[in-house]
Amino acid sequence: MSDTALAPTPAPIRPWKVTPRMVAPQLGLAFGGAVAAMAVVLATGLAGFDGWLVVFVPISIIGTLLLSRSKGAVASVDAIVGNGIVTVAGISFYPIVSLLWTVISQGLDALLNWNFVSSDMRISGPDDELNMGGALHALVGTLMMVSIAAVITLPLGVLTAVYVTEVRGKLRTLVRFIIQSMSGVPSIVAGLFIYSTVVMGMNKFSGLAGGLALAILMLPTVARTAEEVLKLVPDDLRSASYALGAPQWRTTLFVVLPTVRSGIVTSGILGVARIAGETAPLLLTASYFTATTFSPTEGPVASLPMFTFGLLQSGTEYSFARAWACSLLLLLAVFVLFTIARALSGRDKR
């Protein structure tokens, strides 16, 4: 600030901001190319979206080349690669958008009937209309088995994480390696393992067996997420506690773990999101039952993914409607779990 009176402060500007004027040619190219490709598709009878894409990509590449020609080689390459990356990203997002759209639009049909969440399929069959029967048995079963898995996995996962980050035991490299490898165990193998032990031992399918199979799949997710979370605890905190004369177990239980409480919860939530929709292990352990059961030890138990899988194979129109509705329930569950996890993950940071 000099002594002389200054002119009023100018308004902040961002000269590097991309203005509509600058993108106009690009947008024009995209739109023109899209229309032209559409015309070619209609005229030549190429198949739907894929045919359109086959025509659109070359048009967009040539167009980009022409547009950036004046700016030199580096800018041209940059523009073309940029175009390619955007196209590739578009292709890679297309399936999930299509999937979400279909699940929502098809799933609402059955889900908007109250009976879909309040009754089971004990007295309803695949040919019954959507105002009869529902997914209550599957909801209850999934909740039961996921709870069993969570109750087993959370303590084990946190202990594993504490072993690796706090106790720093001799085998921590091996333990991390094993956890990493376990995350690659195919879900059907986890199912086979529980089948060959629990199911063969009890001589029947059960919710307990299903829960145990899911636990095998959930453990690595929980352990790894919890480990990441514990690593974020600053060492100062531990030093402070040790300097006050606290032993390690008090430091861990009363200083380290409480600071990452929501992080630990997050690890559990992500673990649940990982297993809630698993079908293959349940096929071999919990199997499927049409009625609502609350007992984890007395025979087969239904679950949302198994219900969906069965509906899919029976193939009637109403079955498909129910299958879409189940899918919608599963996606809603995943969405809710992720949203909670995201909301929580910001909480531990100060």
Binding site: I91, I96, L99, T160, V185, I216, P305, T308, A323, S327
Partner: protein
């Protein structure tokens, strides 16, 4: 301390340097109990993985004992009526080959899509849309496979088989794209594409994460030298993130190898090795287990457990390789 000054050419040997003291920290009883509990919990995962291998092999030992390597290298799967299995023959070769083919198709298609999407999210997408798209990717990685299967059966597989037909029409001279019967649905190609769609978000998510951790210093250096966005990506981001991309790809490959339900729904299982990927016949170990399990005899169940063990070993090898690569080739740090 009296240092001996030696003016000679030899290095002075200092005297009176005490031996290093060993620091012994006796832990309290509380700590010992605590460590015991924690270690027991942590080692449970080790024990569990061991148990999986042991139980699968013990329960299926009879099969390996009887068929030996033929179980892996032959393709005949006939379940007889006899309870002792004397009229049964089991071999997973076609299924194993099929699993690898389908997974490779998935990885080959998914890798470029995922890297493109990851670069797009981190370097092309406007900042304020970024977190929403990241969430979309994370959710698509968590969409249950049965939902993917449902979508594939009702929406996607029709388009995919028509692409297969087109591919045959224009590139049928290439052995992989040849066909004997003009039937293009439920082919390894279709199943591979479905798997590709399922693992793309997994690879995208991991790649995106490592790309976003590229040191800004290096990106800035690239820009300060007059480099373009692509220049920065090619010279800094890709070399830095390559190990992460490899790790993510291996993770996706592992997932593809073990995927059951989605493949079951879109692949026609035939017990004959088939390399014509557009044709409606393929193999898959996990789908084999799901298909045969319902009506299997006690003896055939043992064979399915043996097949499960083979799949387990295959995925473990891929995963351990992935872990090793990622740890060995972690991003260069200056």
């Amino acid at each position: 301390m009296g240092a001996v000054v030696d003016s000679g050419s030899e290095r002075a040997v200092p005297l009176n340097v005490p031996a290093k003291r060993e620091i012994v920290a006796r832990s309290s009883r509380g700590d010992r109990i605590f460590r015991g509990i924690v270690s027991a919990g942590a080692l449970s995962s080790l024990v569990l993985l061991g148990l999986i291998a042991v139980f699968l092999i013990v329960r299926s030992g009879e099969i390996f004992g009887r068929f030996g390597l033929d179980f892996i290298f032959s393709s005949d799967w006939t379940a007889g009526a006899e309870a002792d299995g004397s009229d049964s023959t089991f071999g997973v070769w076609a299924m194993l080959i099929g699993t690898i083919i389908v997974s490779l198709i998935a990885v080959i298609v998914a890798l470029p899509l995922a890297v493109g999407a990851a670069l797009f999210i981190e370097f092309y997408l406007p900042e304020r849309l970024r977190s929403a798209v990241r969430m979309l990717v994370d959710i698509s990685a968590a969409v249950p496979s049965v939902v993917y299967g449902l979508w594939a059966v009702s929406i996607f597989s029709g388009a995919a088989s028509s692409w297969g037909e087109l591919l045959h029409k224009f590139a049928g001279w290439f052995p992989l794209f040849g066909v004997e019967n003009e039937q293009y649905d439920r082919s390894p190609f279709v199943a591979g594409l479905v798997l590709a769609i399922m693992i793309t978000p997994i690879i995208t998510s991991v790649s995106r994460e490592v790309f976003s951790r590229t040191p800004p210093d290096l990106v800035n250096a690239s820009y300060a030298l007059g480099g373009s966005r692509w220049g920065a990506i090619r010279n800094v981001v890709l070399p830095y993130g390559s190990s992460g991309v490899v790790g993510g790809t291996m993770l996706g490959l592992g997932r593809a190898l073990g995927e059951t339900v989605a493949v079951y729904l879109v692949l026609n299982l035939v017990f004959k090795p088939n390399f014509r990927i557009l044709e409606s016949q393929g193999g898959n170990v996990a789908s084999l287990i799901a298909t045969k399990f319902g009506e299997a005899s006690q003896y055939e169940i043992k064979a399915l457990l043996a097949a499960g063990f083979v799949l387990f070993v295959l995925t473990m090898v891929v995963n351990m390789a992935a872990t090793y690569i990622v740890q060995k080739k972690s991003p260069l740090e200056s």
